[in-house]
Symmetry: C2
């Protein structure tokens, strides 16, 4: 049943518009990109939209389509669902707003939609949602304009489920425009009148292309079902939960009428289920990107080796490592020996490994290669935090270093400071080797902690 | 005495080099930019450096210069200081490394330098430091290459004192290359053999161009003097303290032999002195930039109004506001009324103010202008957190909005999400109005908390 929300063979857009400024046009144009046939604009006011013949109503469709997307005023929706039911349609996605989020009258209208849908066995998605994206088929049922995603949307292992419309839009626009990670399925489930996070989690369990799931939720629609869906998912989940504080909970109540569970109880529940928590929106992106990239879910120790060009930055990193519940690894004797070879006589290798004295005597490529190789081979080192100083690098020393190593097979995170002009290029080269790079020490340490948590083992 | 470290009329560089790859050349080239006369390269191996006649030794100087910068191997430094003393020189800045940071022999060497200097009444800066920058005179005594700063260094109200060499270099390169804020005095004090943070704080008290001071320290050199210097400074201080955790403290011990004070005692000490704390490097930049820009040090309440296009983002913001010890402001009746005029009938204005329904009916410029004006005039609103959705904005709606408001006179912070292509331009326009913009909600809330803390009132 859920499959055809993500892979529909035919779609009708009720409320399609020829006006390029309107959402009803954007939805239609987006769909045209992935659906060469089986796409029907429905609007009694127009003869054709974007070159495709327009039908006056759902009843005029040649067959029951896999999916109807509704973008018409809220009061007309119950009659539309009824018409869909009579036509034999079993999936309706309501992107229009004006339902439970607007108060009591809207709530009653939403209840009516549910009742009509239930009578026909229709699954309802929404209302008040931003729709769905399938990164693999480039099926985009949403009101983002095509130019935003068409050239940038990448297929990948991250699926997201967001109980919100506009946050989902902003989040996805940012992820897509920055190329943070490839998407498998992105779902904005809005008011969750019927389809909720558990329906989608159950579907994603068997979705081979989904490697990690990100959630934004203000409440759990059905706790026993959610528990079961998470336990059987077999993939890591990162949750950004809204309403975890007194002011946030009050705001959530008026947003989606979500009653905040007692915060402490909720924390314990999520921890028990092995769900990773993000507390901010960029952090959610960071975590999803990290889990999408790696095979680090096996249980690891807590020992981090820090490689720095600055004693001070090494200390700040050690402070963050302590705070995250990680440890500074004790370097093995072979590592100490290998590093000693490139260190001046007076300097005993320690952790954090301060490479400045070596950088004064040897090329940067040599220093970084020798030290990173020794640390990656050291069994007492579970992960590496690598500081890099971005500067013009006319001799391509960082390239030489990165060319000398393979893709890293332990969690390695980079922190970058220096001339911001050179950040992007160096970051991209490091990320090709599997080294995720951040501009703030704490962000990098949080990602290391995540990668070292042995996520899947907890379930 | 300290004044001439920042405004020297004449400088000799011992260890100046004609080799453009060497630090001794970079130091000299940097100084040439600000000092048209009174600059002396000293190196017995060369006849001239960068077009200026080279002297074999300090004794050959025509007069006692205001400042000698030493960049020669550590073992030769005590004899150099003695020579300076005989010449009548009273300020020596040792940028060379190889002293206390290298172990016992280095520590003894550093003690010898101190003793020689003391005998002549010489003030020693360093050793093992990155030197000093004066943003106003463009006097740069450091080994950064000129192209990094020459076109980007801006004069401004931020002074920084950093107990580190390479972190200072990286931090300053980043601040300069990103144009985060203008610099007054930037000081890397290294091993602090003589000149320490209190000397500089005492100097900065009367330095009119310094509006806020940033510190990176691993320990306080002289606690009673530091306390007095902070109490009499009359300007806000933001401190990033290294070694505040067990692993960090251990690392600090081997870095600058700094014995970490008992963490809890130190926290109380800094709080008592009204010092603001940063816990990461970008956060230090955020805080300095915010305090440099504003006149918000007067005591304010805790009430924040949140303006958002996304209920979910509003809730996440409310969670961060709770966590930071701030509150959601109760909107006054005039504000509620003004907002009601542009809201649909069914929607009662609340805080967070979810402007999505208004955005569907009115131009973005109108929605933002009406709401921001109402909130800025509302006496129960102490600060505003403004969410903006970055997108192509073909009608220049954000420009229209920003043109319609003056420079904001309450703390207003922005959070931006959407298509990253448009971040930079919109951020710059907002910052011209005094609205600082961040890409993570938590970062923005931390800055609001800082601005609302009533910093100067605490002293």
């Amino acid at each position: 049943m859920m499959e055809r929300f993500f892979y529909p063979r035919s779609v009708a857009v009720v409320g399609a518009s020829p006006d390029r400024r309107k959402g009803g046009n954007a939805i239609f144009c987006n769909l045209k990109i992935s659906l060469s046939a089986g796409l029907y604009p429905i609007n009694p006011r127009y003869g054709e939209i974007e070159g495709i013949g327009c039908l006056p109503s759902v009843s005029d469709l040649p067959d029951a389509v896999d999916l109807v997307i509704a973008f018409i005023p809220a009061p007309s929706i119950p009659a539309l669902i009824d018409e869909c039911g009579r036509k034999g349609i079993r999936r309706v996605m309501i992107q229009s707003a004006g339902f439970a989020e607007t108060g009591e009258a809207g709530r009653l209208l939403q209840e009516r939609c549910k009742a009509v849908a239930k009578a026909y066995g229709i699954r309802l998605w929404g209302p008040n949602c931003m729709g769905v994206i399938n990164g693999y088929t480039r099926f985009v049922a949403s009101f983002m304009r095509p130019f935003i995603w068409e050239h940038n949307l990448k297929a990948g292992g991250v699926s997201v489920i967001v109980q919100s419309g506009m946050l989902a839009a902003g989040f996805l626009m940012q992820v897509i425009s920055q190329g943070c990670f490839g998407l498998s399925k992105a779902c904005s489930i809005g008011n969750r009148s019927d389809v909720n996070e558990s329906d989608i989690l159950e579907y994603l369990r068997d979705d081979q292309s989904t490697k990690v799931v990100g959630l934004y939720l203000e409440s759990i629609a059905d706790i026993p079902r959610f528990r079961k869906a998470v336990k059987t998912l077999g993939k890591p989940i990162v949750l950004l939960k809204g309403g975890i504080s007194p002011f946030g909970a009050k705001a959530a109540l008026s947003h989606t009428a979500s009653l905040a569970e007692d915060a402490a109880v909720a924390e314990g529940f999520f921890r028990q289920l092995g769900i990773e928590r993000a507390y901010d929106i960029m952090q959610l992106t960071d975590f999803l990107k990290a889990l999408n990239g790696g095979n680090y879910y096996k249980k690891a120790g807590k020992g981090v080796a820090v490689v720095t060009f600055s004693g001070a930055a090494g200390i700040v990193t050690a402070d963050h490592i302590s705070r995250a519940g990680l440890e500074l690894a004790r370097l093995g004797s072979e590592t100490t020996e290998a590093i000693s070879n490139i260190f001046p006589q007076w300097m005993r290798p320690d952790n954090p490994v301060d490479i400045w004295p070596s950088l004064e005597q040897h090329p940067r490529s040599l220093t970084y290669s020798v030290i990173l190789k020794a640390l990656l081979e050291d069994l007492s080192v579970d992960a590496v935090f690598l500081h890099v100083f971005a500067d013009p690098d006319p001799d391509g020393e960082y390239d030489l270093f990165l060319d000398s190593i393979g893709r890293v097979e332990k969690p390695v995170v980079g922190w970058m400071i220096g001339d911001a002009t050179y950040f992007r290029g160096l970051k991209e080269k490091m990320e090709e080797k599997g080294i995720l790079v951040y501009d703030e020490i704490g962000r990098g340490v949080e990602v290391l902690r995540l990668l070292m948590d042995g996520l899947c083992e907890k379930r």
